[in-house]
Symmetry: D2
Subunit: 335 residues, 4 copies
């Protein structure tokens, strides 16, 4: 029975706590948060104990920590937890600074402790089925990948201001998906972003609508489309053209009812947002982490993967500013 | 080049005239109608000549007639045309009286001239694809067939009064579909009809909503559902459960556009009515008739098929009145 | 915090135990089974205690029992539990004998304790959405209801032999769905059953493929189709034609991936069987039971509903034997 | 009755000849081709006369010419026909050289005769329905447009060599679609092309897989994806995200049959290629041309539109070579 501690009792920490309960081979024993009361409340709900971060990291009885604190603390906590001999599952992104993330990659690497980055979408049953069909050769060689990822509504501008920008905060998921599906990091990224949804986002120096083209060494192409607002729900689709056909993962709808009237045929909308869409993915992510720990297998998403996605985000941020393509060099992804 | 005459210049006659134009190995040379002006107008449009029925039947230069007159004249015209050595394509139903239709079957049979009945749905590309997949063994043995056939809106009561009733007028298509798909005539029919759409239809002694269960000798089952009103368009679907799976022919929609908004995902309706849905079927029906004539092959839909569908309709009409199942005996379908 | 006991630790009992864990306002404290070890094992898993049925029924500390024992014990246990002052949630069917079920209805009624029957499908999010749209007037008056309910594969003949037959064992769900959707009991039922899937089922005196037509007093019609085998999974669909349109609840698919190749466009199958399809429904059913208990509200599915479905099943069984329609009289449904 | 002449009796000329027959207010009277026999054969089929190009252009009895000759003759023929007082419907592209096309725009403009460019996709019922819903305000302001356009199989390399390259030959349709839907010409184009399908295409200096991002002055974005090979048929989809929702035009499938077996649910493929998909569009295009001529209304697709699409293609070709975005200046589109 693995003993787990959760650092961060905010929204995403609560999601993970709930996902963990569903598992069987581990127990959530301690929760820390800068807001001690939030930690206490969540701890009471799931039968864990509220503790301080330092206590947790120094406690040899704890096998692994799940880092769900604010992004600016991720690198530090990864380094401290691995140095203390703990396995880590850290929420994305590793850091807002690629430079800092690369240092964390080096430091955590020296400890030999496993670090997994929480790219939950890889564990969505639909995307996982697409990846598995592709890896099984069902459409031959991959050629052209398209990822559509629209949020239902933009976050408040205050969130935008500390988010690192759309490419690091939102599209980082899609960069990881593209690298995961194609099995490697692109050679080049070209980005374009516009502010079409909320002028406040533009005033904060960010974009809310963006298209990025990623090119691999051998010519394969991925296109990622992001918008902060799709009035109809959370639009999360992947489409991959291969030499032998096309694989497409469609949206998950709220229900399967269709109404036909003189006005047309109406189906349900996509499920509203990431909790509805990805709860099963969080559970599967958690199982995969525990499974890898127990069997001493490589993590299904590595810290290096987290750095690679961040490198793409950094390149895209730069390209969107200059208009020119940005090359992703080996040193940007940890060599 | 086959020379064809059209008897009946009404709505369905015009459809056939248009379908014929699309073909290449035949020419529509003459059109007759009790309303000579209607015949003249249609003739002008398609480059044919307006003539009297008798003239046409006596004209040895005419190879085939298409009978699209009122139902009460079908039997007579089939008998006269075949007696005069002509091939016939006659609109459904053969007759409103099964007894009369059986006599026509006997009489036309003696002439040896081919008679095809216009069950256009067999030629719909979707239903034809379903039949072909089933005959190709793609779902094994057939077990349970379902036919949904709803009109967009009820006809005027004046039409109902001379229609022979829902089972003979509307469901006859579905009876033919069921016999065609299963390749034989059912042993028994149980029908239930209600008047739910238009009280005037009930006052005229007919029903507007009906369900019929057809049972074959070996236990196979078909269920047919009819309604005179589906507010969303012409609902024409077939579903066949077999020992190895299910085949389903869905509706044809007006277009492929989907609109996603906060209100849901809206697709186009089914195409409005039989002209929109079955124009291609009428063309294919016509080609099949000409093809069979040219190659001296058996007609793809025979007069006997028309009698069998009528026998089902007669049995269903009786069953709906009594509530009891009605057996279809060999003498009801011409032995 | 309501204290619940589970009678029956078999497959369906385990499903309920798991569904209960998801709830929050109640606790499963005791489990009984004729196989004490099975009860012990399940109890250990969910943190409950293995106890004898009699002990449970006599324990005033237990608020409600969930009856998931074999069908022939349902009536007895409902009567004993309600007599002992407990609320009951009993798996379907109430009994195989309508006569016995009617007696239970009378007896349990005298105690004034609430009894809910476990018709889980009403709680499926898709069917619930259809019902809610219909009740909200979105397609006007209901006219013609169609229920398709196919199992993926037939059960062993040994199961068939004690099942009460397809109409009482399998179609009883659909009878309840039809009564629920239309809000009342039909006036008449006509059934036809065939043995097409497994000759052993026929040898055991049962059918494996069946169609039932239900007619309401005012002419509304429902058609139910059952098959013990749909090679492609669990086929569970409902379609309702109303005066203003059509509502259709489609199947839930294993995932949303579509593969397009030269062979066609392939989607995932429907989820395999009732656990996959209805786990969420079992959870919602359980919540609804607890909610009604806590707020002293009427049960969302009553014992009378269970008797009505059984009356339909009895009528269908008779009709399938005689071929004739069977009238459902008020005394068959408890007056 | 308008008298029309067809220049070019090749594949696309034959398509137009067939589309014209479906119309009613015009007659195809003459056909010219450098291969006189091809012209004679087609003329015989449709009841027209084979004549020389010069004769046709000098014949005052001819109202309009349809130019379906090889691309390098388009500009010349547009200029000569308009100078001779004829209306023109010319196949896309106007020319392979933007410079030459701009001269034609100036020259034809001076004659005042109407010139329409044959961007058939605008007349596809699905794309037209999307455009009409968008123009009707159904999803608010347009923000992000996506066009997927994959051919079923690459053409021979010999065709590629004279095609002007993927951007001028294939993607020109999509450039026009984007300009049409958004109602204006983009400010900037960034293109990336790879050779992934056929090395021979790369050897000929062209690409077979490409992504282009188009940016409008106000920040709106369009992404176009092209591939010369989608093994499953002709993939032609458009998707438009607006401030109030999403409009998506899906593919047209060969039929509506779905087969469910243990292997999954199989639907029909998209219709194979442009003839199957766009025959109705060619008919509607032709009607629109005739309608505009008869009512003296502006052409629904102008020569200026043809030049704009060509400017986008030229910019994309350059961008794909350099990697950098290319600005579209007013002088590139005729001011």
């Amino acid at each position: 029975m693995l003993k787990i501690a959760l650092l961060g009792a905010g929204r995403i920490g609560q999601v993970h706590a709930k996902a963990m309960v569903a598992g069987e081979d581990c127990r959530l024993v301690a929760i820390a948060d800068t807001n001690a009361e939030a930690a206490r409340n969540l701890a009471a709900l799931v039968g864990a104990e509220q503790r301080a971060v330092d206590e947790i990291i120094e406690d040899d009885g704890i096998d692994a920590v799940l880092i769900a604190t604010s992004t600016d603390t991720h690198s530090d906590l990864i380094e401290r937890a691995t140095a203390a001999g703990k396995a880590v599952l850290c929420e994305k992104p590793v850091d807002l600074s690629l430079e800092r993330a690369l240092k964390t990659l080096a430091n955590a690497g020296k400890t030999g402790k496993p670090v997994m980055i929480g790219f939950n979408r890889r564990f969505d049953p639909n995307f996982a089925a697409l990846k598995s069909a592709f890896d099984g050769g069902e459409i031959g060689r991959g050629e052209l990948l398209s990822i559509t990822s629209f949020d239902p509504a933009p976050p408040p501008v205050s969130y935008i201001e500390v988010s690192g920008g759309l490419f690091r905060d939102m599209m980082i998921h899609d960069f990881d998906m593209a690298c995961w599906i194609f099995g490697s990091v692109p050679a080049q990224v070209t980005a374009h972003g516009s502010c079409l949804v909320d002028a406040g986002i533009g005033a904060a120096g960010d974009v809310d609508t963006a298209v990025v083209t990623m090119i691999w060494e051998d010519g394969r192409i991925a296109v990622v489309k992001n918008s902060r607002r799709a009035g109809y729900g959370y639009d999360q689709r992947v489409e991959l053209l291969g030499s032998g056909g096309l694989l497409a993962a469609k949206n998950v709808l709220e229900n399967t009812v269709e109404k036909s009237t003189a006005e047309g045929v109406v189906s349900a909308k996509p499920v509203h947002f990431f909790l509805e869409r990805y709860m099963r993915a969080y559970e599967a992510e958690w199982s995969a982490f525990v499974e890898a720990l127990k069997s001493n297998a490589p993590m299904p998403v590595t810290l290096r993967d987290g750095v690679a996605a961040l490198a793409c985000a950094e390149a895209a941020t730069l390209s969107a500013r200059t208009g020119a393509p940005v090359t992703i060099t080996p040193d940007m992804t940890g060599g």
